[in-house]
């Protein structure tokens, strides 16, 4: 056995039994240091004849590499072990240091969901003023003064003909005054009506209004868009029905019902045993509205729809009191993540 083989055997025996990081350092010095065992062998090589010198040199260098990598491997092994020992002293059940959780208001979330679906159907989002004039809130929408059709639109007035909008339909007029068809827009926003506050009424609430105008928009397009919306909003198996109704700014007008998703249409307290939930109003844009904004009603057709966000949020989450939205108790708000 050559001297190199002896050193190799000794090193291998020692390294496999080394249990401390400090021991590794000591070994490194002892074998590979300036006065180390292998170093001294390498140094003595010059005394050997030419051909032996080459052979022994190669062997010694090979061992040097082996030792270096052996020490590194052992170091990694020992370090891992030591970290593991430290970790086992910690109580992993103590709470972590994550930052607190925030959240969006349920009305924002509901309005966001509605908007995203319509954006995916090609609608552009637009907003309009809350402080409005009678022209935009009523006249241009074919709601005459002193007409029973105004009954549903009791309004807060500020001064003269300036008022707080009672629906988001005012934005329709602003949009149409500004641009020519074709377009499809979604108009979410805050609206106001002087209703005494109770569990289902609020003097301030939110609506989402939609409008699509081109030269060939039909009632079938309206049904298509709203059917796609309702299925993604309320579930794939949602059934729908369109009932004739009356709104001054649409004709034909429809009330849109969806099958009650609580009882699956069997009849329950929420749907008043009818199996249906009234979800929005819709219709083809009345020619008088087109006239009010200077569109040719013989050329353009369009559909419009509108829905109440609070009502939809209440139905979706099973919230029984509209006032909860504006009380802002964080124990309520934090349920919506």
């Amino acid at each position: 056995m050559s001297r190199i083989d002896e050193i190799k055997a000794a090193f291998e025996a020692e390294i496999s039994s080394c249990k401390r990081l400090e021991g590794l350092e000591e070994m490194k010095v002892r074998y590979l240091g300036r006065k180390g065992e292998l170093t001294s062998v390498l140094r003595s090589l010059s005394e050997l004849p030419e051909d032996e010198r080459r052979k022994a040199g190669m062997e010694a260098n090979k061992l040097k590499e082996l030792m270096n990598s052996g020490i590194e491997e052992a170091r990694t092994r020992l370090e891992m072990k030591s970290r593991g020992e430290k970790a086992s002293e910690m109580d992993v059940t103590l709470p972590g240091f994550g930052p607190p959780r925030g959240g969006l208001h349920p009305i924002t979330k509901t309005m966001g969901r509605i908007s995203e679906i319509f954006v995916s159907l090609g609608f552009r989002i637009a907003e309009g003023p809350e402080v409005e004039t009678e022209f935009y809130n009523f006249e241009a929408l074919n709601i005459p003064l002193d007409h029973p059709s105004r009954d549903g639109f009791d309004t807060f007035y500020i001064k003269g003909k300036t008022l707080l909008r009672s629906h988001t339909s005012n934005v329709q007029i602003h949009i149409m005054q500004k641009q020519k068809p074709p377009f499809q827009v979604l108009m979410p926003g805050r609206v106001y009506r002087p209703d005494a506050v109770d569990a289902t009424h609020s003097f301030m609430f939110h609506q989402v209004e939609g409008l699509m105008v081109d030269t060939d928009i039909s009632f079938a397009d309206l049904k298509g868009a709203l059917t796609l919306f309702c299925r993604s909003m309320f579930g794939e198996d949602t059934r729908m029905r369109f009932r004739p109704s009356f709104f001054p700014f649409t004709e034909p007008s429809a009330e849109v019902d969806i099958s009650c998703f609580i009882c699956k249409g069997k009849g329950c307290r929420v749907c008043k045993m009818s199996g249906w939930l009234e979800i929005m109003g819709a219709g083809l844009v009345d020619p008088k509205v087109f006239e009010a904004v200077g569109y040719d009603p013989g050329k353009y057709t369009g559909f419009a729809f509108g829905m109440g966000v609070e009502r939809i949020a209440m139905l979706l989450y099973g919230i029984n009191d509209i006032r909860l939205f504006y009380e802002n108790d964080v124990r309520f708000l934090r349920q919506f993540i």
Binding site: P95, P100, G102, G103, L104, H105, I107, T108, L121, G122, R124, I125, E130, V131, D146, H147, S149, D151, F156, I158, K159, G160, K161, T162, P182, F183, Q184, P194, V197, F203, M204, M212, D214, D216, S218, F219, A220, K223, G224, A225, L228, R241, F242, R243, P244, S245, F246, E251, P252, S253, A254, L284, P287, T301, Y326, N328, D329, V330, L333, R334
Partner: protein, 681 residues
């Protein structure tokens, strides 16, 4: 509107289950809300839209049923009543011709007031009408049957044998049959005799001419009053009657005289009275002959359904519309007087859709119209702010836009001039919000009260301000409000860290840096706030809001007893400066060098000034100056503080040498010492 199924069957021969009828009516626009079983048979509670006054009676609903089921209408007996000579004479006159197109009256002499025949009582009870006597009940019966409101006066109590339709004059009063003494205002339409008012036209009769048990002779009124005047008067007097409800929506002028005939005969039959001649003022003529042209192709295109001309004609005939003329593509239709709502071709399109059935119109997958950006910048900024804040641990709130005057008064230094509402629900909602802080403090107060102690909240909402004296001088602008109170951080290792001004400042900085906006805070004197600061942004350092701690005195008014820190920022300004687009610049290839410097200076010296000076002294080499420590305490002289900055040095095109960094660092230290008189440790 209550519908009796048994009564309806008098006019249309249908034999479907009541549930099926209810469904059919609902699906054609007369929504059935409830079906009830009564001793008089099944009744339906209907919601009739305001454009369909013709459906507010049995005959009208029978027409709907007839159109749905393809049946013929059986009309009630509307033949003229045989008039006899009466000894009593009355004169009718319309003075307010603009408000009353047609007024009829008829004398019925020698009546015996008594109980109403059982068949009439049965009908009235089915639709929840209370019976009075054999005269009044007949008018109610005809109202429910035909939709024509009528009124009966005690003829002997009419003064001067005269009934005049005129506008009330100032000071006139009338005790109506409900016993209320009402002050009539000028211009209200009334019926008067020689002495004064005896009825409020179309709304309610007067006690002075009411039919009583002792009444011997009556005058039966059937008329057509202007919807607007009836509506205004009813609203002003705060009364709504079955009569006013129908007049407001518009009645069938063609039914005025026939209804009078039918009622006269029924009254005569049950009271033994003698029917006089029909007295008439005004005109029976329709204001306009209603012929509407409708294009079959356009109808089908609007509906997106191939209904077919034959079907359309059948629908019109079923609804009682006469087809006057037809060509291959067009129909000319005459509208009967009872359908006042049908005026344009689009109204007829709706009739086609209604009876054809909305459910039978196909549902088409709509096209997408190409149109640029789906969301405008303000919307994108608003959404980014909300999601950023929610992600950073802040909870969104939503408060009322209407506030009491207090909201302005208590926070006047941070409020816009408030906008007042003319008809508020209460003092608590009398003004539009002039700031968002009031809403925030109310929410904080309510939550603290409920023991929700650590709050970090935000709201994006509008504030409103008066910008001048005119009715249009009102501005609404979106703002962001942030509020924090209680512990900012709390855990078992580091304990609780109370929230501070720097939590508000930090979140504003973080938020705006996400929109690539530089933020500057500058000490300001804002009443109502302590440690107050203006918030400025952008390169021109525009004032966009404020931040600070709400003064304890203000907090007291909101019943809050722990510190609250707040900021309010204009979103219009933020949107204007925000850069939403990501842009790429190459990542530096050469490493930075870092050197720290500890400065001792006067406590009052603001860090921003020092930092700016350090950044500017060796521009081009200094990449960033960051404050990493602040010490105030025993180890340094009183009135002093110690600040440690870390300065990052780098060049874009090569690595800086130690010597270059050292030289720059010394230069900065020297310059800052000269400028601010600071010392180094």
């Amino acid at each position: 509107m209550k519908l009796s199924y048994e009564w309806l069957k008098e006019y249309v021969e249908i034999d479907v289950k009541v549930e099926e009828l209810a469904h059919a009516l609902t699906m054609t626009g007369s929504a059935v809300e409830e079906i009830k079983a009564t001793p008089q048979g099944k009744t339906l509670q209907l919601e009739i839209t305001s454009n369909r006054p013709d459906c507010l009676n049995m005959l009208g609903l029978a027409r709907e049923a007839a159109a749905i089921y393809g049946k013929k209408i059986k009309m009630p007996d509307l033949s003229a009543a045989k008039a006899e000579r009466t000894s009593m004479r009355v004169e009718c006159q319309i003075k307010a011709k603009d408000l009353c197109q047609l007024y009829t009256a008829r004398v019925i002499e020698g009546v015996h007031v008594g109980p109403t025949p059982g068949n009439i009582v049965k009908r009235l009870e089915a639709v929840d009408l209370r019976t009075v006597n054999n005269i009044v009940d007949v008018t109610n019966y005809c109202l429910m049957e035909l939709g024509q409101p009528m009124h009966v006066f005690d003829l002997d109590r009419i003064k001067g044998a005269k009934v005049i339709v005129r506008k009330a004059v100032k000071g006139e009063r009338l005790i109506t049959i409900d016993g209320v003494d009402r002050e009539l205002s000028e211009g209200m339409l009334i019926i008067a005799d020689a002495d004064g008012p005896i009825a409020i036209a179309g709304i309610m009769g007067g006690k002075n001419t009411e039919v009583t048990a002792g009444t011997k002779n009556v005058l039966l009124e059937s008329a057509c009053f202007d919807p607007v005047t009836v509506r205004r008067t009813a609203r002003k007097l705060a009364i709504s009657t079955d009569s006013s409800y129908r007049f407001e929506r518009g009645i069938d002028k063609g039914m005025v005289a026939p209804a009078s005939d039918r009622a006269s005969k029924m009254i005569a039959a049950s009271t033994g009275g003698k029917i006089g001649k029909l007295l008439e003022a005004g005109s029976r003529a329709e204001t306009a002959q209603k012929i509407i042209k409708i294009d079959v192709g356009r109808t089908e295109r609007l509906l997106g359904a191939s209904v077919g001309k034959t079907r359309i004609k059948k629908i019109f005939r079923g609804l009682g519309l006469d087809i006057k003329k037809e060509s291959a593509a067009k129909l000319k239709v005459k509208v009967p007087s009872f359908r006042g709502d049908l005026m344009r071709d689009i109204d007829l399109v709706e009739e086609v859709a209604r009876i054809y059935g909305y459910d039978n119109i196909p549902s088409k997958v709509s096209k997408i119209i190409p149109q640029g950006e789906r969301k405008e910048k303000p919307k994108k900024v608003d959404e980014k702010i909300r999601t950023d804040l929610a992600g950073a641990g802040w909870q969104e709130i939503m408060t009322y836009s209407m506030v009491p005057y207090r909201a302005y008064e208590d926070l006047s230094s941070i409020s816009a001039s408030p906008v007042e509402i003319m008809n508020p629900l209460s003092e608590e909602q009398k003004f539009l919000a002039p700031n968002l802080v009031d809403g925030m403090l109310k929410v904080i107060s309510r939550n603290l009260n409920r023991k929700n102690m650590d709050l970090r909240l935000f709201e994006t909402g509008k504030i409103y301000k008066k910008t001048g004296p005119g009715e249009k001088d009102i501005m609404e602008s979106p703002e962001l409000c942030i509020g924090i109170t209680g512990c900012a951080r709390k855990n078992w290792k580091e304990g609780a860290v109370q929230s501070s001004f720097y939590d508000v400042k930090g979140v504003v900085e973080r938020l705006l840096s996400g929109l690539r906006i530089n933020t500057f805070f500058k000490t300001a004197d804002i009443p109502g706030l302590v440690t107050a600061s203006h918030v400025r942004i952008g390169n021109e350092k525009r004032l966009v809001g404020f931040a600070g701690e709400i003064s304890p005195k203000t907090l007291e008014r909101y019943d809050i007893s722990q510190p609250v820190f707040i900021a309010q920022i204009s979103l219009n300004e933020v949107t204007r400066h925000a850069v939403l687009e990501d842009t790429f610049t190459p990542v530096p290839r050469f490493p930075s060098a870092f050197r720290d410097v500890s400065v001792q200076c006067d406590k009052e010296l603001e860090v921003d000034g020092l930092k700016d000076a350090m950044e500017q002294e060796c521009e081009g080499i200094v990449k960033k100056v960051e404050i990493i420590d602040l010490y105030e305490g025993d180890k340094i002289p009183a009135g002093k503080k110690s600040l440690t900055f870390s300065i990052e040095y780098a060049l874009p095109d090569r690595t800086l040498t130690d010597e270059e960094v050292g030289a720059a660092h010394d230069k900065i230290k020297k310059a800052v010492a000269e400028k601010f008189g600071v010392t180094y440790r």
